[in-house]
């Protein structure tokens, strides 16, 4: 066990955990932030995506010890009221089916648009291909990303 101070959604949070514990479980079990989802635990599905210094990463394979000093943003911190353009677009297009993958999809898409406000189709596909949606919402995710690009203008 070890103590860590993490910077999550702009707040300092203290945890006392196994240094190997992936950030995903620190968020969910230690900090009771359940927005970040567990899908595979092996960086294969994207359900656990959060931002680390603005880049989309899979929190299920990132030991908490590796996140010290970094700025972590989770779905809860993207915007609390759903006003972020990606969240807005997701609601407008009515993307979610079961909804379980959507926090990860939104975090991946929002990191992409923050770094590349006008990605072309290939650039979007290259990034979004890392996020599985078992319900098959891909066509709507595509529409929602286009809409988010418009809304961010």
């Amino acid at each position: 066990m070890a103590r860590f101070t993490l910077n999550i959604n702009g707040k300092q949070r203290q945890v006392d955990v196994d240094p190997e514990m992936p950030l995903l479980w620190v968020l969910r079990d230690e900090l009771d932030m359940k927005g970040t989802k567990f899908g595979c635990g092996k960086a294969l599905c994207g359900a656990c995506t959060v931002h680390l210094n603005g880049a989309a990463i899979r929190s299920c394979v990132l030991p908490v010890s590796a996140t010290v000093g970094a700025q972590i943003t989770t779905i809860e911190g993207l915007s609390e009221d759903g006003s972020h353009p990606v969240q807005q677009a997701w609601m407008e297009v009515d993307v979610p089916q079961c909804g379980y993958c959507q926090a990860g999809q939104i975090m991946t898409a929002s990191a992409l648009l923050a770094n590349n406000p006008k990605p072309n189709e290939e650039e979007v596909a290259a990034v979004m291909s890392g996020n599985l949606c078992r319900c098959g919402t891909y066509p709507r995710i595509k529409k929602a990303i286009d809409r988010a690009i418009e809304l961010s203008r």
């Binding site: 079990d29 407008e92 319900c135 098959g136 595509k142």
Partner: protein, 732 residues
């Protein structure tokens, strides 16, 4: 949708007849002078408070099929309120609401009458209350947007002002229902009621629901199906910080409940997983150590080469027809075991106390779990509370409550609240897979290319046999009344079940996900052999006469050839079927009736340099009766196509040495973003009773896809998934 933030406290007071009068008092903030509002339950499906707030109950589990939105829409329509006037609340297990489950695409169709009546009855009572107050006949009053008006008068009374009086009235019977032409909510696109909560990361799912203080349990089950714990060593596991206890869980008598296992209980999920990885368990395995796809395949092959165990249909005389026919076609089709892969792994929470139980977690059968818990613990059902949460997918996996039993048993054993969490590996290793099957066809055409005989010998690892059901093992595996049965003068269908230790269960569109592939592929083969256009061939078979065909399976008791013909014709026209193919675009077609709905699809593919199909565009035409939620319906139909495509391209569980050889999404791939085709769907206008749509487009896509591959390459795909098909194994 309004969000009502007032905290409420309920006091149940005696109601009149079945309309319980449920009073609630707002708990005003300490220093405010807020007035007290009463909340009245006019029936089990809705509550109206005297301040005008309206709550409508979502009775069934939300697994992504949209019922948390669509079912309340039906009530709201008849209640005559605007959608933004209401709040949807998820029901817990509540026997007054009838069966609570998600399966067979039945939520809408089986609740249609009850939900309309719930809304219409409440509306009638509110109108009656107003009429009484105004001393006029109720025929002189009407409701609109949550207000009752007297004809000719501008000012009316809102429901909130009428509800206390309404609750004292006798519940009327046979209230009039709205005509579809007057619908204001049904047929519109209403976004999912949880969308805001979902995009802001609220804890909506089973896995999110762990109350603090609960232990997390991660279980080691036998890698070989049916294995039993012989002994275990937990020394290393217990040394992991956070691990609290390691206990054995005995298998239940039913194969559909929990398996023999060792549970590691910890204060957090990571510790439980780590502890589990350090367990040493010795397993005793009595049978099935050698079970494999190869063994099962040879058994399926053997059984489909001989007379079937069950003869399901025998019209005319197929043997004679084959002997005399100028053209006879034979073909063997195969489908693999499929994994459900709900993105949220299985999980369940149970808090078994001395004389009460609290339950929550992801399941498609919330209505059945209190009974299950009662049988296990002896605690009566009325002392058991169950809350429903969203499910991160279902697809049939969560019709089986094996993992819920694990939580109940562990909580009882440890006298502590326990949340059972499955890892992805657990989930793929211990699924109840879609049965594997083999299908041998023989078809005969006459001189004019007319279909004279159809003979199907099928065998599958029947899920009804697996679960030890008393029903025939062919149930949901093959459908003796499915098209083209009844249209071919000589028609025979036989079936044999194969016993295996590999667990099987319902997988989205059970049975149809295999039979539509084989039937619609073989019809395509016959059409080509007859030198006829595949769509024309189907239409010719159906004939021009409008017939009602008997259909004894789910979705029956019959189906209409008129409606089937219509989706076929519309899809062909709309999907550009009649235009000649281009060098880059090849088309495939399929049509199917299931669960009461009619679907036809045109698929357009392009081949890459290895002849692998890139699916460019899918057109689907659907007749599902009255449409409830347009956006939700389209989402289901799109999702079904993608799900079916994913299974056709990549699905397939590898069984060797009595166990599943894949562990995660690297070895069990699913379709990804860039592979999703463009999808266009047309839902035909209808005033027929609504049918579900969660499963209806799925079965067609594999057939339409493989028919398109044939059109493009002349190669016939008869075995799925595509990635393991000889055609692609050779070329890669």
């Amino acid at each position: 949708m309004t969000t009502h933030i007032n905290r409420r406290k309920f006091i149940r007071v005696s109601g009149l007849s079945s309309a319980g009068l449920l009073l609630a008092f707002h708990l005003p903030g300490k220093n405010t002078q807020e007035s007290v509002a009463e909340e009245v339950e006019l029936n089990a499906y809705l509550k109206i408070s005297t301040d005008g707030h309206i709550q409508i109950v979502a009775k069934n589990p939300e697994i992504g099929q949209g019922v948390k939105t669509s079912l309340p829409m039906i009530i709201a329509e008849e209640l005559e309120v605007d959608w933004d006037q209401i709040e949807v609340v998820q029901a817990g297990a509540d026997s007054r609401l009838g069966a609570q489950f998600a399966g067979g695409s039945m939520s809408v169709k089986t609740n249609w009458d009850a939900l309309r009546n719930a809304g219409a009855t409440a509306k009638a009572m509110l109108i009656q209350a107003a009429a009484n107050e105004w001393k006029v006949s109720n025929a002189d009053c009407y409701a609109s947007a949550g207000v009752v008006y007297r004809k000719g008068k501008k000012k009316g009374k809102p429901y909130g002002d009428l509800v206390v009086a309404a609750a004292k009235l006798e519940v009327p019977k046979d209230v009039p229902l709205k005509a579809p032409a007057d619908y204001k909510i049904l047929g519109k696109s209403i976004p999912g009621v949880d969308n805001l909560a979902l995009v802001t990361g609220k804890p909506l799912f089973g896995l999110d629901a762990r109350p603090s203080g609960a232990l997390i349990a991660v279980l080691q089950r036998s890698p070989v199906f049916g294995g039993v714990v012989e002994s275990f060593d937990a020394t290393a596991a217990l040394q992991v910080p956070g691990v609290v206890e390691v206990v054995e869980v005995k298998a239940s008598a039913s194969k559909m409940q929990n398996r023999s296992s060792v549970a590691v209980l910890a204060k957090n999920t990571w510790s439980a997983m780590k502890g589990r990885s350090l367990l040493q368990v010795k397993w005793k395995v009595e049978e099935g150590q050698e079970e494999s796809n190869r063994r099962i395949r040879s058994e399926l092959d053997k059984l489909t080469n001989q007379k079937g165990e069950i003869e399901l249909r025998n019209d005319g005389n197929v043997e004679e027809a084959f002997a005399n026919a100028p053209t006879v076609l034979e073909a063997t089709y195969e489908v693999p075991f499929l994994y459900h892969a709900t993105l949220e792994p299985q999980n369940y929470f149970a808090d078994v106390k001395e004389d009460s139980i609290y339950l929550s977690g992801s399941t498609q059968v919330p209505g059945g779990i209190p009974g299950l818990a009662s049988r296990i613990t002896g605690i009566p059902v009325d002392k058991i509370t169950l809350d429903q949460n969203r499910n991160g997918g279902g697809f049939g996996r969560r019709l089986t409550a094996d993992y819920a039993v694990e939580a109940i048993v562990l909580s009882q054993q440890l006298k502590q609240p326990v949340q059972v969490v499955w890892t992805r590996e657990d989930d793929i290793h211990h699924d109840f897979y879609r049965p594997a099957g083999m299908y041998k066809f023989k078809g005969a055409l006459d001189e004019n290319g007319k279909l004279r005989a159809w003979h199907l010998r099928s065998a599958t690892t029947s899920r009804y046999l697996y679960r030890g059901s008393t029903e025939s093992p062919h149930t949901t595996e093959v459908f003796p009344d499915g098209f083209p049965a009844g249209f071919v003068p000589n028609f025979k269908m036989e079936y044999s079940p194969v016993a295996t230790t590999v667990p099987t269960g319902a997988w989205r569109a059970p049975g149809h996900n295999a039979t539509c592939f084989i039937d619609q592929s073989f019809l395509d083969e016959l059409a080509h052999a007859a030198d006829k256009d595949p769509v024309k061939f189907r239409l010719e078979l159906l004939g021009n006469e409008d017939k009602t065909m008997p259909y004894a399976d789910h979705g029956g008791p019959n189906y209409s050839t008129k409606r089937l013909r219509r989706v076929i014709e519309e899809a062909a026209d709309w999907g550009g079927w009649w235009a000649p193919p281009t060098r880059f675009r090849h088309r495939g077609f399929a049509a199917h009736f299931m669960f009461g709905a009619y679907v036809a699809q045109v698929v357009e593919i392009q081949l890459d340099e290895k002849n692998w199909p890139i699916v460019k565009h899918v057109y689907a035409v659907v007749d599902c009766g009255i449409l409830i939620n347009k956006s939700g319906a389209l989402a289901q139909l799109e999702g079904g196509i993608i799900d079916g495509l994913s299974a056709a391209l990549y699905g397939g569980v590898k069984i060797r040495e009595g166990r599943t050889k894949q562990d995660n999404f690297d070895t069990y791939p699913l379709l990804r973003y860039q592979e999703a085709p463009r999808i266009d769907i047309q839902i035909l206008k209808s005033t027929e009773r609504p049918e579900g749509l969660g499963e209806m487009t799925l079965p067609l896509i594999s057939a339409a896809l493989c028919n398109a591959i044939f059109a493009a390459t002349g190669e016939r795909i008869r075995s799925l998934p595509l990635k393991d098909n000889e055609l692609y194994r050779k070329s890669s």
